[in-house]
């Protein structure tokens, strides 16, 4: 049995007191424990940003990569060792801004990877510039006249590109978030959990109070059918007075990217295979083509 102690490390997060990232860290660890996933079976791949420091604050394997690039590293990791569980964690600036292209391409591939997004709608670590998920008109140090861009729609975008598990959580609803992450972890394909993350230093208007008043759970809505792709796409764009959290869309995934690979399909992870010299039959088959 995996316990919370397995994930404990003697390292104080450098996050601001009150940051939503604490709740996300807690929820993640608790979901991992509930689903009996041990730290050594797990690889958490992050980008660069406040939230992306997360693997430093738990006892776990991690790759703290480059700004915007956790997805490529995560896919490489998963292809090289599909026996390990891979979770991608990143901020909105990271994965929906600098790394937006990788995100869409990754979704299209249905890798067996869970994605958790610390979406504080701001660049935290670089001190508060607007991000791709900032609302239009948002004023920050680099948008003193208000941002001139429609916010990115990551959930709708994932739904559009074949994702079969698309959810949004909120650390103010911790139990619900733990449950969501758990469901995502159990999903046998790519799963996205976007999280409304309060940033108390640079996005005060989008702090806990704001969300607390507005969030509602899709699970509480009788008629909501998470298997209706079009409805999910529409609901994913709802924002303002009411902000949905929960599972927007869920369907049965096809085979993962790894399992569609001719080398990996139903087979031992790449790095678990012996690495030796080519046999003489192999050499002959290579040379035969050159004669």
């Amino acid at each position: 049995m995996v316990t919370r102690d397995d994930y404990r490390i003697d390292e104080k997060p450098t996050w601001c007191p009150g940051c939503g990232d604490y709740g996300i860290l807690t929820a993640l660890i608790r979901a991992l424990v509930e689903h009996n996933i041990a730290p050594h079976e797990l690889m958490i791949v992050t980008g660069i940003g406040c939230g992306s420091k997360l693997p430093q604050y738990m006892r776990v394997n991690g790759m703290h990569t480059l700004h915007g690039r956790p997805w490529p590293a995560a896919q490489g990791a998963k292809l090289a060792n599909h026996g390990m569980r891979v979770i991608v964690v990143h901020g909105d600036g990271d994965g929906y801004g600098e790394g937006l292209g990788h995100f869409v391409h990754a979704v299209r591939r249905n890798p067996g990877v869970t994605e958790i997004v610390q979406n504080n709608k701001i660049y935290g670590l670089t001190k508060g510039q607007f991000s791709p998920t900032s609302e239009k008109g948002w004023k920050t140090s680099t948008s003193p006249y208000g941002s001139a861009e429609e916010p990115a729609q990551p959930l709708a975008l994932a739904i559009t590109h074949g994702a079969t598990f698309v959810a949004r959580g909120y650390p103010g609803e911790l139990k619900h978030l733990i449950w969501l992450i758990g469901e995502a972890l159990e999903h046998p394909g790519y799963a996205l959990v976007d999280i409304l993350q309060p940033c108390v230093s640079f996005n005060k208007p989008r702090a806990y109070e704001y969300y607390a008043e507005r969030v509602y759970k899709l699970e509480d809505e009788a008629g909501y059918d998470p298997n209706n792709r079009t409805a999910a796409w529409e609901r994913a764009q709802e924002w303002g007075e009411h902000i949905p959290i929960g599972i927007f869309y869920r369907a049965v995934p096809g085979p993962t990217f790894e399992m569609l690979d001719p080398v990996l399909k139903d087979s031992t992870p790449l790095v678990k295979r012996p690495l030796g010299k080519l046999g003489s039959a192999q050499v002959d088959s290579l040379l035969a083509k050159l004669r």
Partner: protein, 579 residues
Amino acid sequence: MIENDITIRIGGEAGMGLESSGAGFAKALVRGGLHVFGVPDFYSRIRGGHNFFTLRAACDPLFSIADPVHILLALDMESVRRHIADLVPGGAVVYDSKDPLSEALRREDVLAIPVALSQLAREIGGLELMRNTLALGIAAGLLEFDLSYVESIIRDNFAKKGEDVITSNLNVIHKGAEIAEAYKADFPFRLHAVPNAPQRILLNGTQAFSMGALAGGCRFVSGYPMTPGSPVLVWFAQNGAKYGAVAKHVEDEISAINMAIGAAIMGARALVPTSGGGYALMVEGTGFAGISETPVVIYNAQRPGPATGLPTRTEQADLLFMLHASQDEFPRMVLAPGTLEEAFHLGWYAFNVAERYQTPVMVLSDQFLADAFRSLEASGLDFDAVEIDRGALLTDADLDALTERYKRYQITESGISPRALPGHPNAIWVTESNEHDEYPRIEEDAQNRIAQQSKRMRKARPMAQDVPPPTWYGPEGAALTLVCWGSTYGPAREAVDRLNAQEAGAANLLHFSGLEPFPPTAEAELRKAHKTIVVEGNYTGQLEILIRARTGLSVDGHVRRFDGRPFRPEFILAGLQEA
């Protein structure tokens, strides 16, 4: 009759199938016991334009093409226009008789062979595309090359397409040889098969490097198509699965290198093939590999730039770029094979070095080396010599025995920290792109920075012992020393041979296939030379700059080329007049 060293050039438009028929014919020559060197010259377009393929054959090993052409197979008039002047006196031009040869394109000293190429190809083979085959049949006939070798290639190449296709190709070939009969008497060159020659192989640098990498345990390739680097990606996509290598064509070069890094951290030997412009997008990733001490092999088949430049042509102008790419500093190895043998050898060696020193290794090829074909003894690809050395890699047993928290970036004398692959309960750690301490924790302390940066940089010292030293070719103590790196080896070697043929002991060659760390023996070797001329394919003289940067030595002159075309011995010899 001149029996040896014959050059055939076949020219036409893109889409006429020059490359595949040229390569097929080259294989036939090799099966006939001849040595072959073949170079494609292609425009960056899919149809039309002017492409040509130059095939040189001889009884002795070849390291370059040469200027004079003996047979020009001109599938269109443009080919006559461009290449008629290159024919040796007594050479022959085969062209389609549907267009007459204008006065300006006639040469008294050249045998003109007008043939209804397209029409006959259609009539006999059923396909206009077979005019290549017809033209090559004529060439074979003129040279009295034993057709059975050509036939065997046709049979092998079209085996999957069925008897009908084979037969029509054979008919076309024979028709060509038959046409040649009438001209043979006036054509003074021959290329007879060498009966009991060993069975050789024919391949290009792409194949040599790819096979070396595969043999060296490369099991993960992520790339994005970019000429002339993508053939390695394609090679792995098509051949890798059979040998357990995963190959992914991904969304861009940034993704390619970061995927490779992700895979390498997990323990796969990972390769990213690209060209200079694609590598430009991998610079940040290279630095990540540097600070996270992740072994990745980066293959750059250079082409002329900057930016899109000349996509299908050759140059050697990325050396200083690769050598300094990424903000800040970390040790790297830069290798540049000069021959197919070296491409194979460095192909596997690169992975050992990368893992031994846990850092990026760069292999600089170029379009010339990547695309040019050469015959060699099968033993030239020395699979037996391959070793797989994974460096300081901790085994499961090592990790089982671990009693303290694992230190991924342990400070050591050599700078090398024993490496654990993720997955073991005793070695749980986070790859860091921030500066970090030994565990690693993110750490900004000044002393820690000094310790970690020095540890990483220290690895350059033992690496210098593992970088291939520059090698000599030709007589010791020659009056003139050509200095070159990478693919220029072949043409420079032939230039040296020719100089020595004129005057024994005139010249030798110092070739660099290891450039960073700068080989410790290089200065001493350079000091042995009486007069040094650097031959390299770029404008500013990058090896020359590097030599001065590392040794303070100035060379005596240079021959440079930056027009997108490969060096040839004649170009070097002419350049030496001016150097």
